[in-house]
Symmetry: C2
């Protein structure tokens, strides 16, 4: 059975990605990062998503103690820029090199467990504008792994698979609904209160997606 | 003052690299990784080297709990292949994607602290044969950072500087001696006993270097 590492954040994109990987027949091992985000809620949700899919999962602690992002700082304001301005510039919630660190760890686990693929639910359409979510970035990462790993330099490869990269949020939710992704277990809000704030980028993008798909958000 | 992040392992290559960066006028912040290596001795040595240079340093814990290397496993045998066979194939001490993880974290710290350079003491001449120590790998990493960071996509850059990449071990030690690198504070042996084992790749390469340079190893 072909093996894959899947990065899970607790949000709906990564949950959909996991179910797409399972649907393609991959034996999936989920990685969840506890990196000092504003709240632990998304980590708990990620664990629930992995468990509900019956997948092995691992929570990896790597606090970004050097800061550099409003997403790591509970006191800092979250951007509230409205749906039309999302994606136009890199927001203060950008975490320096976050995906690079996550993918590096995933690559290490992939080599150690003989997995040939890493799935990441990055999206470059309805997204916050982070540079580490764009196709050219993932292409560069594959080149890096081709040159810098034992597997890559010994005739094998580690593919970075981004099945959502060109999809709108509405399309993602339609695909996920067909695959019965447990969206009631996902969490998108940056703020991490009892209920979603409905004002941060992540909440607005989620709402846009469910509206477009014509599906009711189970968390709404 | 131009800022740099320097990766310190406790060995002589990274200590020399730190002093080359300081000599070039960089304000250096040292990163030291506690990644589950066989012994903590090299971490202590790295801290001493940073302190003796008067540099800010940070020890980052990231146990490679998924394994995949004899360097992470105290029970596993270390290769003893003799100086002539070193570098011919990737040895069992290769740690999957180690430099990729270290450089990713360094890139994150670089962005968070507005540093434009990362120094790493990688060497592709007298080295163990690890794929993540070769020039093409570092080139690919720079491309990755150009595409995947806020700094890189906003007209700035984060350079990966490898001043030792094409040097022999003897040349490295000659340069370091001129710069008064405190080689008595460095530690190279993979085994981490009271004295160096003098049989592992790392010990053999160190001995070769001091012999070639015609300098007495202060640890010998």
């Amino acid at each position: 059975m072909k093996k894959a590492i899947v990065l899970l954040s607790g949000g709906l994109d990564s949950a959909t990605t996991l179910h797409m990987a399972l649907d393609k027949g991959y034996d999936c091992r989920c990685l969840i990062f506890d990196y000092g985000q504003r709240h632990k809620k998304e980590i708990k949700h990620a664990v629930k998503i992995a468990k509900s899919a019956g997948c092995v999962h691992k929570v990896i602690k790597l606090p970004f103690s050097w800061g550099g992002s409003h997403l790591l700082d509970k006191e800092a304001p979250l951007p509230k820029r409205g749906i039309k301005n999302i994606g136009k510039k890199i927001p203060s919630t950008y975490v320096p090199s976050r995906n690079t660190i996550f993918l590096s760890v995933a690559a290490s686990v992939a080599e150690a467990t003989a997995a040939g693929a890493i799935f990441i639910g990055a999206n470059a359409v309805d997204y916050s504008g982070y540079p580490d979510c764009r196709p050219g970035y993932f292409k560069a990462f594959e080149t890096l792994l081709k040159r810098g790993t034992k597997r890559g330099t010994s005739g094998g490869h580690i593919r970075i698979i981004t099945p959502l990269i060109g999809r709108t949020k509405g399309e993602i939710i339609k695909i996920g609904s067909r695959l019965k992704v447990p969206y009631h277990l996902t969490w998108s809000c940056y703020a991490g209160g009892k209920a979603a704030c409905m004002r941060c980028d992540s909440c607005l993008l989620r709402k846009k997606g469910f509206d477009e798909a014509g599906i009711k958000d189970p968390l709404a």
